[in-house]
């Protein structure tokens, strides 16, 4: 071999070494170019000098004379390049790379050569493919040896060709390179594994594909790159299914099922593939914590009934505190009650269950759970039911060994429920529903224990698309659990919330209010019937009822049950007045006691009348709670409560306001103006009557109703003003003869006068009851009663469209206006009396006019009154006093007049007086002066009248307004302590009324 090298070396150096040869070579090469060209480059015969050189290089390489080899390869490579003999060139380059690698001198050179060779092979197309791969592999090995593993990986990647299997292997190798590189490039590792898996799949090497994907999972396990995860799991699942390994396939498919971020088509694909796989397994799959649908554990709400029972679902959703405050004074005090049944309970129940909830056998426990479909496609859920364990009391069965037994029995129950076997110890409800994309469904599941023992709600199970059974245990994520109703104490562990002690069945009342409207107008007065039915076999007794809003709902008397409404309200002669007062007592107590002898016997029902009155507009929640006791003394619970909850919408109907102003000329009479606006959009009300409450007022019409309102009905949007005269009979009675109370006309018919319909009696139940409620709401004090007057305005709605369920009889509406104040806020009223027109000869003397002021003290205290007169030049003082009196509620005293929040508007006469004062001061000049005393002070005894003479001097003829005086009054408090707080105003300032005097020049 060495000999051969020597020979070849001689030949080569003869032809190519030396400057001359090189020049010649260059020149000569150009010449022969076109002669030997073939499609794949020039063909070199073995004897050609190029082949000789190449052989020399190879020999040298083989003998590890790398220097020589390299120099030869150098020599030849330029030749090949010039000849465009690319294949040869690449081969030489490849060898050069290897040689340089062996020499280990210049890494860059070696790499450059390899890359050059590789690229050149690739340029050759399919012909160079295999060479390229070989070259690449050399290159990779080279890099690996040099610990340039990362670069090796990129080379592997470049090696990928069209053949998928080849590419797959290369990519897998590349991924290993990334894994081995320092630091390990895990992301790339995963990526290339997945790529390689894809290629394996393309050439049906599914097992390999799964292998690569599975190793990729380890990379993506931690990450939250959702699409990547889905892709990997889905494909593994698919491929396993392809191989027939369905169990594994399912576990992978499960992970992509609830991928809400995917597009709709992908979700459909996932779901259908999953279901297909499950079907292929040929059995119903049971999956713990199936993610489809998603269960919102925080929505878990357990509704059960111990001594508190609910009439409807609405009542159960009301906050416990509302009920507590309502039941506060009704149920026996907590400590005694607790000790009563705790004593009993401790006998029945071991200590560790002491804090469990109590439920009654035969009564359903309701569990609300929210199911959410995370996907955009509909899914169907069937047979949703609770998983429960019912075990006997541990005292009777003392070990856990039995519990499995029970569970077995329980399983039987589950199956038997569908067949409707009522003898099983548990009844579970099953719900089927389907969820649209993104839909959330609140499902109520019930469980009814039928025997005593300890019940534990373990979880929920459901069937997805009738093939996969999903379970979810509530206990497993008990951290977030919140049990509704707030009835457990904080120290309870959450697991106890789902544990119940089932006690012997008890009577339970069910309650319903018939024909309670859902929507009505303000003022609606109705007669309702409350029906309490007892389905159990035991009677109950000692019924009590409390209503949250007595303004709206009141209990009636038993004899009112079948009365004819509204005829029962009509005024009868010889009616006894006691009824109303008895009811006031009842109302103040707040708790309605049913008569002692009333009890609800087994399997019967009790009806009781209720009165309903829509007092104010708005959305009203009515809470009613009914307390009852068991007749059976041996039961654990002594009493139970029934809670009812109703929501109703009250729309505004009539806006009624009253305005009272004193009659200018008479002391005890008042002008009453009533403004009514029909605020509804379509209803037509028929006015019926106006009544004043109490015995001391007399109302009469100023003009017949027919002239104001010929049709007697108020159409939608119509407004109406009526004027009445109001007489204070009580005050008159002090001085005049006492008039028999029966003849007092405190009601006025506003309807057709020829109608024989009786007026309604506002002084008997229920109108009086509701009126008392209104009184207490519209103004707080019952005291000072005599200064205020209350009105009840009654209308009828003949054919209302608001409540279709209502009976066809006309609806009755009553509007209550309370505490309409008389004349002014002051207890002092006065009247200036004197001539109205005077003729006087001014040329003779100035004119003196004598006037008389009558002052009335209507309060119970002695009043000191101070009359100040002033002439208009001192208008300053008018303003001052005017502004003073304009202050609301004259805050000298601690009492403050709260403006009535209701619709009823009472315009203060104060304000009117002020307006007059202003207009006077505008006039500026007055031509009279007050003569006589400019200031008078007097003491007025309670409920007395005094007369004061006044005098003015007039200097010129004209019309004078004698309002420029001020009454300062001061109530002297009575020494009685109990009355101390009653006096609603202790002092005040009143502007004078205008009194016009006409003075004429006499001839």
């Amino acid at each position: 071999m060495e000999q051969k090298i020597r020979v070849l070396n001689q030949q080569v150096s003869a032809t190519r070494k030396g400057f001359r040869n090189q020049i010649k070579n260059l020149w000569w090469r150009k010449g022969k170019e076109d002669a030997l060209d073939t499609p794949i480059g020039p063909v070199y015969t073995f004897n050609s000098i190029e082949s000789q050189i190449r052989t020399l290089g190879d020999y040298a390489f083989m003998l590890r004379d790398y220097e020589l080899a390299l120099s030869n390869y150098h020599l030849i490579s330029t030749d090949y390049k010039l000849d465009k003999a690319w294949k040869h060139y690449a081969g030489v380059q490849e060898m050069m790379g290897l040689t340089q690698f062996m020499l280990d001198q210049s890494r860059k050179e070696a790499e450059y050569c390899m890359e050059n060779a590789f690229n050149t092979y690739l340029k050759l197309g399919s012909a160079g493919q295999q060479n390229a791969i070989r070259c690449g592999l050399w290159w990779v090995e080279m890099l690996k040896t040099r610990d340039q593993i990362k670069e090796a990986a990129t080379v592997y990647f470049r090696l990928c060709g069209e053949d998928p299997l080849h590419s797959a292997v290369m990519l897998e190798q590349a991924s290993f390179c990334y894994l081995l590189s320092k630091p390990p490039m895990l992301h790339k590792y995963g990526f290339h594994l997945v790529l390689s898996g894809d290629h394996y799949k393309k050439c049906d090497q599914i097992k390999h594909a799964i292998r690569t994907y599975r190793s990729a999972i380890s990379v993506y396990k931690e990450a939250t790159w959702s699409l990547i995860k889905d892709h990997v799991h889905f494909h593994i699942g698919q491929w396993y299914a392809f191989l027939g390994m369905y169990d594994v396939a399912v576990t992978h498919m499960l992970k992509v099922l609830a991928s809400s971020h995917q597009s709709k088509t992908m979700q459909e694909l996932f779901l259908s593939d999953f279901l297909q796989i499950v079907q292929k397994t040929g059995k119903t799959f049971e999956v713990l914590k199936l993610q489809l649908p998603v269960i919102n554990i925080s929505s878990l709400k357990v509704i059960f009934e111990d001594y508190r029972t609910n009439a409807s679902a609405a009542a159960a959703s009301v906050r416990e505190s509302v009920w507590r405050s309502l039941e506060e004074d009704m149920i026996p005090s907590l400590s005694t009650a607790r000790s009563n049944w705790l004593d009993l309970q401790s006998k029945l129940v071991p200590k560790k269950y002491k804090e469990s909830n109590i439920c009654v056998a035969g009564e359903a426990i309701k569990v609300d759970i929210e199911f959410k479909n995370p996907l955009q496609i509909p899914i169907s859920i069937s047979s949703v039911s609770l998983i429960c364990e019912l075990s006997a009391n541990p005292e009777e069965m003392n070990s856990d060994a039995n519990s499995s037994n029970i569970e077995l029995q329980n399983d039987e129950n589950k199956t038997s429920t569908s067949t409707g076997d009522l003898n099983s110890s548990l009844i579970l409800s099953e719900v089927d529903f389907s969820l649209e994309g993104g839909e959330t469904n609140l499902v109520q599941l019930t469980i009814t224990p039928r025997v005593e023992g300890i019940l534990k709600i373990v979880g929920v199970k459901w069937k997805l698309s009738s093939s996969v059974v999903g379970f979810n245990n509530f206990e497993s994520n008990s951290v977030n659990k919140r049990v509704a109703k707030g009835r457990r104490k904080a120290k309870h562990s959450p697991s106890n919330d789902l544990k119940f002690i089932v006690i012997k069945s008890l009577p339970k009342l069910e309650g319903f209010i018939h024909s309670l409207p859902e929507k009505t107008y303000v003022g609606d007065l109705r007669h309702l019937v409350l029906e309490l039915s007892n389905q159990s076999k035991f009677p109950v007794k000692n019924l009590k009822m409390k209503i949250s809003n007595p303004r709206f709902l009141n209990a009636g008397n038993q004899r009112e049950l079948n009365v004819d409404f509204p005829a029962c309200l009509e005024k009868k002669m010889n009616v006894e007045q006691s009824g109303g007062h008895a009811n006031v007592n009842k109302m103040l107590q707040n708790v309605f006691h049913f008569p002692e002898d009333i009890s609800v016997q087994e399997e019967t029902s009790l009806c009781w009348p209720l009165w309903f009155h829509a007092a104010v507009p708005g959305n009203i929640s009515l809470y009613i709670t009914i307390y009852y006791e068991m007749k059976d003394e041996s039961s654990i619970m002594k009493y139970r409560t029934l809670r009812m909850h109703y929501n109703l919408q009250v729309l505004p109907s009539l806006d009624v306001s009253f305005e009272l102003s004193p009659y200018p000329s008479r002391l005890q009479e008042f002008l009453l103006r009533m403004d009514i606006v029909n605020k509804t959009s379509s209803e037509c009300f028929q006015v019926h009557q106006l009544s004043s409450v109490g015995q001391q007022w007399e109302i009469s019409l100023l003009q017949p109703v027919d002239s104001i309102l010929p049709s007697q009905s108020l159409f939608a949007g119509q407004a109406l003003s009526c004027f009445f005269m109001l007489k204070d009979r009580r005050r008159l009675s002090t001085s005049e003869d006492r008039i028999p109370s029966l003849s007092l006309q405190s009601d006025i018919r506003l309807g057709p006068q020829d109608n024989s319909e009786a007026l309604f009696d506002v002084s008997c139940s229920p109108l009086a009851d509701f009126h008392d409620c209104e009184r207490s709401y519209q103004g707080m004090s019952l005291q000072g009663y005599e200064y205020k007057v209350d009105f009840v305005f009654i209308t009828q709605l003949l054919n209302g469209s608001i409540d279709s369920g209502a009976p066809n009889t006309p609806l009755l509406f009553s509007h209550h206006a309370c505490h309409c104040s008389l004349s002014s806020t002051s207890p002092i009223s006065w009247l200036v009396d004197g001539p109205r027109t005077i003729q006087h000869n001014f040329s003779a003397s100035l004119c003196e006019v004598n006037l008389k002021m009558t002052i009335n003290n209507s309060s119970d205290a002695v009043a000191s009154v101070h009359i100040n007169t002033f002439d208009s030049p001192s208008s300053q003082s008018i303003d001052a006093t005017a502004s003073q009196s304009g202050l609301p509620s004259e805050n000298q005293a601690g009492w403050c007049d709260i403006p009535v929040v209701n619709d009823m508007k009472i315009i203060r006469t104060d304000a009117l007086a002020m307006r007059f004062a202003k207009s006077v001061s505008l006039d500026g000049v007055s031509q009279f002066i007050w003569s006589g005393s400019s200031s008078t002070k007097l003491l007025l005894q309670p409920r007395s009248t005094a007369e004061i003479p006044l005098q003015i001097c007039v200097f010129a003829p004209g019309i004078y307004d004698l309002s420029n005086y001020v009454l300062n009054w001061n109530l002297i408090p009575i020494s009685d302590e109990e009355n101390q707080g009653i006096v609603n105003k202790s002092s005040g300032v009143c502007q004078g009324y205008s009194y016009y005097l006409t003075v004429l020049e006499s001839t």
Partner: protein
């Protein structure tokens, strides 16, 4: 020219906190996960470069076939700057837990608007 770009904000521990497919080309189903794969793989390179340079814009990072992970043109650069400001605004939100997914629709709309402007 129809270009499509996948823009992902990645927080610590390689957790993506915001993802958006922007660009004029119609959305392709298979492209979505491919983009994620590529960007995920590119994190390796970013981790390497992060130790060697202090520059915030890391020029060309990685490429796979014709898909490039890079900040090599001015449009992307200014887009990144603007998005960075938006991101800071998100961070200023006291209710936003740093490192959690950005769910603000406002942010999303803004980013897409910026993408239309610059890319």
């Amino acid at each position: 020219m129809t270009t499509t770009a996948c823009f992902i904000i990645v927080s610590r521990n390689d957790i993506p906190i915001y993802e958006a497919e922007v660009g004029s080309a119609g959305k392709k189903e298979d492209a979505a996960q491919l983009h994620q794969f590529i960007l995920h793989a590119a994190l390796d390179i970013v981790q390497d470069i992060a130790w060697t340079t202090s520059a915030m814009f890391l020029k060309a990072i990685d490429r796979f076939n014709d898909l490039v992970v890079s900040v090599n043109d001015d449009g992307i650069k200014s887009f990144f700057q603007e998005v960075h400001e938006l991101y800071i605004k998100i961070l200023l939100n006291p209710l936003y837990l740093p490192g959690s997914r950005i769910t603000s629709s406002h942010f999303d709309a803004k980013v897409r608007a910026l993408a239309r402007k610059y890319l």
